[in-house]
């Protein structure tokens, strides 16, 4: 047990150290989400108008963009595994008296922490897009982002455990990440789409992460909305007639995450 704990914090410590020294990543990882926010926001905001009373398109998309940033940074934990393998450092880690599971958790925790910081940095845009933040919302965002980022780190590691080259990893991750973002309801509400798309969206863990952050941010506006069906069906996530609450979303993400993480650990331990 001591080796799990030590493996986790030693590896996480190095991930953070690397991040601090590579300042470029701090900025580069915001690039894509911000481009989407600005261009899609400017492009669609007028045509689409309000999705529900009091929620315009940019306000709708903004929580999704935060989830997207967290997603992109979390899967980085996988890139870091592949990077270490390619540059040899992974052998130094693997031959140390550390548990394999601990190493995986450390990679996930280190990159999750970075992803969470990036997610919080995006909060500075809240006044610009017109979302009012309260201290309570910020505090509640922390557990949401922890669960989301750890889960997605598990995905990154699962993919990485099979990959020998960075190019290979990038390719697979691109193929996975874009559908996950688009299906995850970052850009459109997943309830009001054709059935096939709705089904795909609802098996995408990102959907629940996005929905949790969205409910957190827009909770006030959503509550004020009176829909004939009741609840926030217009922009929420409804499964079998049940509209997910924020905490239910978190539980779903956590379950997805636990499965991915355990699969990642097993795959990683077996490979080396």
């Amino acid at each position: 047990m001591e080796e799990v704990y030590r493996g986790m914090w030693v590896v996480a410590y190095r991930e953070l150290l690397r991040f601090i020294q590579e300042r470029a990543r701090l900025f580069s990882s915001f690039g894509m989400p911000l481009i989407f926010l600005i261009i899609f926001g400017a492009g669609f905001n007028r045509i689409i108008g309000n999705l529900t009373p009091g929620v315009n398109y940019i306000q709708f998309m903004y929580p999704g963009i935060i989830a997207m940033t967290v997603l992109m940074n979390s899967v980085f934990s996988g890139l870091s595994v592949v990077w270490d393998r390619e540059f040899g450092f992974l052998r130094e880690v693997l031959v140390a008296p550390l548990s394999r599971g601990g190493i995986v958790l450390g990679k996930a925790a280190g990159n999750a922490a970075i992803a969470i910081v990036q997610g919080f940095i995006l909060l500075v845009l809240a006044p610009v897009v017109g979302v009012t933040l309260t201290a309570r919302m910020v505090a509640e965002m922390l557990p949401v982002l922890i669960v989301l980022s750890l889960s997605l780190s598990g995905l990154g590691i699962l993919v990485a455990s099979r990959m020998r080259s960075q190019q290979g990893f990038q390719l697979v991750i691109q193929i996975l990440i874009f559908p996950m973002i688009f299906l995850g309801g970052v850009f459109f509400p997943v309830n009001n789409v054709p059935t096939w798309l709705s089904v795909l969206s609802k098996i995408d863990p990102v959907t629940y992460g996005v929905d949790a952050i969205r409910q957190l941010f827009l909770g006030g506006s959503l509550a004020s909305m009176s829909s004939p069906v009741g609840g926030n069906t217009a922009i929420g996530v409804t499964i079998f007639g049940h509209t997910m609450t924020m905490w239910q979303d978190i539980v779903v993400v956590a379950i997805f995450g636990a499965v991915l993480m355990i699969a990642g650990m097993m795959s990683f331990s077996r490979q080396e």
Binding site: R6, R14, R18, Q21, G88, V95, P97
Partner: protein
């Protein structure tokens, strides 16, 4: 005292037998070398002893711990310098060492002192805050050796410690290894395919195609070749050759205009030659001790050089790398 004990250790990769029933012991404080061409199974053996690979058969103990059942204890007992670099190039020398200290649970009180000492030992103190990617190949290797020693292991494994380094740096690395053995009372287990490097070992196991074909001190291995190598050049090689055969009972081989043969003792053969006289006029004569190259050639019928690895050896190498 025996610190590494290996019994019939084997490793198969599918059909390929990389290491076949290897048995040997290494005593505490020894410099023990594994000599053989690329793909002979040296790295595979090291990887098994370091608990990175699970053996297909046989048993081995390092510092008294079983390499399969007591992996954690084995890992604490050993330091490792791999063939390929395993440093984090974007961290500083110091940060690399600190990571290692945390990973091996080096006690907090002695951690910084130990890092300082070890950097001093490999003469990198003045570069401790530099990022590793600014280091030369030799400096990186020194830092890796330092890191391997940081947690005060009982055995240091060096897999081709000087591969790809220039001769001067290689000699330097060897000076460190010798100094370390004295200072740290270490046992050193190394692999090499450089003959001159193997000379530094107390004992050498010659490994070829996964099997140990000889194991002894460098001098005894060379004695096994059958004495010293004499090279003669005469005005008439044919006559000289016949005379040598008749008078001195050696088996001369004429090669490239030179006569080559082995005698049990070169030092006593020359005076004998002078005393007893020689009818053919001699132009040149030289005597040399056999090298490990000669030993390897004698044992396996092949030279050790990489280029001469046959097709099968190339396939073996590729398969092992791919795992």
């Amino acid at each position: 005292m025996t610190i590494i004990e290996v019994q019939e250790l084997s490793k198969k990769f599918g059909q390929l037998v990389a290491v076949e029933k290897v048995t040997f012991q290494v005593d505490e404080g020894e410099i023990f070398g594994f000599l053989g061409p690329n793909g002979a199974g040296k790295t595979t053996t090291i990887n098994m002893l370091c608990t990175l690979l699970r053996p297909s058969g046989g048993r081995a103990k390092v510092n008294g711990y079983d390499i399969v059942r007591q992996r954690s204890q084995v890992r604490h007992s050993i330091g490792l310098v791999f063939q390929d670099p395993t440093l984090d190039e974007y961290l500083s020398a110091e940060q690399n060492l600190r990571f290692h200290a945390y990973a091996y649970n080096v006690p907090k009180q002695s951690r910084e002192k130990r890092i300082g000492e070890i950097l001093e030992l490999v003469e990198l103190s003045d570069r401790r805050r530099s990022k590793v990617h600014t280091f030369s190949g030799g400096m990186k290797r020194r830092l890796e050796i330092a890191r391997g020693l940081l947690h005060s292991p009982r055995v240091l494994f060096l897999d081709e410690p000087t591969l790809g380094l220039d001769p001067q740096t290689r000699r330097h690395i060897w000076d460190y290894i010798q100094a370390l053995r004295k200072q740290e009372k270490l046992t050193i287990f190394l692999t090499t395919h450089y003959m001159d490097e193997a000379e530094n070992c107390d004992r050498i196991a010659v490994i070829d195609r996964g099997r140990i074909v000889a194991l002894d001190t460098p001098n005894k291995l060379k004695d096994g070749v059958g004495g010293d190598m004499v090279t003669l050049k005469a005005e008439d090689n044919e006559t000289a050759s016949a005379e040598l055969k008749e008078k001195y009972h050696v088996t001369p081989i004429i090669q490239n205009g030179m006569i080559n043969f082995t005698v049990p003792h070169g030092e006593t053969f020359l005076p004998e030659l002078m005393m007893r006289g020689f009818n053919t006029r001699l132009l040149a004569i030289s005597v040399r001790r056999p090298t490990l190259d000669d030993v390897f050639l004698k044992l396996t019928g092949r030279a050790i050089r990489e280029q001469e690895a046959g097709n099968m050896d190339m396939i073996r190498q590729m398969m092992m790398r791919r795992r």
